[in-house]
């Protein structure tokens, strides 16, 4: 689509170019995808509303659903930590429970979103093969629906944390930044995986396995520094790790994320570079997956 056509918002005349003509540049492509998405923002809103509504319609525990998953993660985390403290002798304190709670919520958001959005395109076959709309609406709606649940969870967390000895601090200002990065990273993964699953149906099985075992490679139940220098560094390579650890340090330890934190044994617990690393993953990942998604969405109807 030419820039002139993009600016003329209401007269959405379009020219379909054959598949083999000169490809537009990346920036043009991304702008076109964003413009299309903006035109269909109402559909995104309605689909999110649909997902939220049907989850709570005819469901016995209703909004409890939003809390069940994170609560189970916290419970199993406490159990694992309790077992660990029995061996090491250092008791599981309130800060430990607070750490697990703070990290369980974003983890359950990530897991929930990925498992829903991976099948968001193939699960809406009727729509994808019969109606035109920017296909990114489907994985995005799945993400927003989970974000709604996460928001309820966050609300409850805010009420619970004071009892776990967590107090207000300036470091809490980091929370929105980390939440935004987590959201972008999750959207990037949703777009890529939903698109991949449309072409290759075994993707959803791989994703299931990854999500089941991912909790062992992501610091939810534990802190990376418990693993020793080398393993800690490896675990921090997971783009989710800096975000979860950042949340824990900012909320529970009241640590300013611009300042590096070195443990008693000289181990780097936190470095601002971690934040840069995660941000690069989120932003570049989103740009790349949005590009892949947009360039392949024109053949979705033929391959689904």
């Amino acid at each position: 689509m030419t820039p002139a056509a993009v600016s003329a918002a209401e007269d959405s005349a379009f020219e379909v170019t054959p598949e083999d003509e000169a490809q537009p540049t990346y920036v043009e492509d991304l702008r076109e995808a964003a413009t299309e998405l903006w035109h269909f923002r109402e559909m995104l809103y309605q689909l999110t509303l649909r997902d939220v509504r049907i989850r709570y319609k005819q469901a016995v525990i209703g909004f409890g659903w939003a809390l069940l998953m994170p609560a189970l993660i916290v419970l199993s985390g406490c159990l694992v930590r309790y077992a660990m403290t029995r061996k090491s002798g250092a008791p599981l304190d309130l800060a430990g429970i607070a750490s697990i709670s703070v990290k369980a919520l974003p983890w359950s958001f990530f897991v929930g979103t990925i498992s829903f959005s991976t099948q968001s395109l193939t699960g809406n076959l009727q729509l994808v093969s019969k109606v035109y709309f920017p296909r990114a609406v489907l994985p995005l709606a799945a993400t927003l629906g989970q974000a709604f649940d996460a928001a309820i969870g966050a609300l409850v967390l805010v009420l619970v944390l004071p009892f776990l000895d967590v107090h207000l601090s300036m470091a809490l200002l980091w929370v929105p930044v980390l939440a935004l990065l987590l959201f972008l990273l999750t959207v990037a993964a949703s777009l890529f995986l939903s698109c991949a699953n449309l072409f290759f149906r075994d993707v959803k099985y791989i994703v299931q396995v990854m999500l089941t075992f991912g909790i062992f490679f992501t610091p939810v139940f534990f802190e990376p520094e418990m693993m020793g220098r080398r393993l800690a560094a490896l675990i921090m390579l997971n783009p989710l790790s800096p975000l979860l650890e950042g949340l824990r340090l900012a909320v529970v330890q009241q640590h300013d994320l611009l300042v590096p934190l070195i443990g008693p044994d000289g181990l780097v617990v936190w470095s601002p570079l971690y934040l840069v690393y995660a941000a690069l993953w989120a932003i570049l990942g989103l740009a790349a997956s949005a590009m892949i998604f947009h360039r392949s969405e024109f053949v979705f109807a033929e391959y689904i």
Partner: protein, 410 residues
């Protein structure tokens, strides 16, 4: 660029038979092949497993015009609509549509069974590109049009099929599109609703909204469209006014499609129907068929069949044949068959198709000519389609019979 609202310029679209690699296991060999052979050739040539669903199709629709797209199943009509609505992209050629497209295609694709009618109106409306405010202002109109005010807060899963379809149509019909695309949705709901739906489309037509209609209901095409194209196997085989194109379609239908001209012993040479203009419903016509049987032993097991089907739906309403009536064809030589048919059918256009059937294998071994009969209003139609056929078979050529052949496809 022209002022056309819709323009299709030499559009080609390639599809694939069978499965595309749908799991990662199949991807690796495919990537390997691509590395070896390069991908440059891929776009334009047919590779094994590919076929052209649409070949070199061009047409234009300007404001105030309406185009009908007709053709047998598999002709490429739906693909043309998918290209128009941007669901798929052309392999070659260009396709332009100006303004908002209203597609009366998959009317309730976005409905969720657990949501109420009200919630689904907003959902489906947004999928079609409407905004909340727009839907809200038209909400009452939509509900009234669908005729479901009492059920608007009931989950759609408890709706009857008709209510479901009516609601879908009502939402789509209130879109106020710049271009309207209609695919086989004129048969939604009961007769009264169909009339209402058709009226709504005719209104848009009067408001100069350009229209693209795909339908097997040829009378609807004739009523709505200023022009039409006939597709067959992806190609435009006829293009002209709606009436001309429909005539071209009716005359080619069924005879060319699947019949196999094999080594049948019997050949039908002509068919003549004494039906000047319109025949009143309940009236009787006489169909005269001449043919020859080659000296061949299979002749005795062959039978001449007459089939009457509705042009509108393509459904066969009556059939009769010589074997069924205990009239074996001659062993060899020419013959003349006269069949009286009482047209106990509702007023409509019908095709009479002649063919030769191998009674042993039930295969159609020879496609004969077709003719068309217009049945008008007459005596009250009694209900059962029984045409009380009376057959007369004569051996040998009959003077004059062959000369009066007036079949349109002879």
């Amino acid at each position: 660029m022209s002022t056309a609202s819709v323009s299709f310029r030499h559009v080609w679209k390639k599809f694939r038979y069978g499965e595309v690699h749908n799991s990662l296991r199949d991807l690796l060999p495919a990537l390997g092949r691509r590395l070896l052979h390069g991908r440059s050739q891929a776009a334009h040539d047919l590779q094994s497993g590919d076929f052209w669903a649409v070949r070199d199709v061009s047409f234009e629709v300007r404001p105030g015009e309406a185009i009908g797209i007709i053709g047998p199943n598999g002709a490429g009509k739906s693909t043309v609509l998918k290209l128009l609505t941007r669901i798929v992209r052309p392999t070659r050629g260009g396709c332009t549509v100006r303004g908002r497209i209203g597609a009366l295609i998959e009317l309730s694709a976005g409905f969720h069974p657990d949501l109420t009618g009200r919630e689904n109106i907003f959902l489906q409306g947004s999928i079609m590109g409407m905004h909340r405010g727009e839907i809200a202002t038209k909400f009452d109109e939509i509900v009234a049009f669908a005729g479901i005010p009492d059920f608007i807060d009931t989950p759609v899963k408890r709706y009857s099929t008709g209510m479901h379809a009516r609601l879908g149509f009502a939402i789509a019909a209130h879109l106020d599109p710049d271009v309207l695309i209609i695919d086989e949705v004129l048969a939604v709901g009961d007769a009264a609703f169909q009339q209402k739906a058709f009226g709504r489309i005719a209104d848009m037509r009067r408001q100069q909204v350009p229209l693209v209609v795909v339908s097997h209901q040829l009378d609807r095409i004739a009523q709505l469209c200023t022009k039409a194209i006939l597709l067959n196997r992806g190609r435009v085989v006829h293009s002209g006014t709606a009436a001309e194109t429909i005539a071209a379609y009716v005359n080619t239908t069924s005879s060319t499609a699947d019949a196999i001209a094999s080594d049948s012993a019997t050949r039908i040479e002509s068919m003549f129907v004494n039906a000047p203009g319109e025949v009143p419903s309940g009236g009787t016509i006489t169909v005269t068929i001449t043919g020859t049987v080659r000296p061949n032993w299979t002749g005795t097991r062959e039978s001449v069949v007459l089939r009457v089907s509705s042009v509108e739906t393509g459904a066969m309403v009556f059939s009769t044949d010589t074997a069924l009536n205990g009239m074996p064809l001659p062993h060899a030589g020419p013959f003349t068959l006269e069949v009286d048919l009482q047209l106990n059918v509702p007023a409509n256009v019908y095709t009479i198709q002649s063919l030769v059937l191998d009674t042993l294998t039930s295969r159609e071994v020879f496609p004969g000519p077709n003719a068309q009969v217009n049945v008008g209003a007459g005596i009250a139609f009694t209900g059962s389609v029984q045409m009380n056929p009376r057959l007369r078979l004569e051996e040998g050529a009959r003077a004059g019979a062959a000369g009066s052949s007036a079949s349109p496809v002879a």
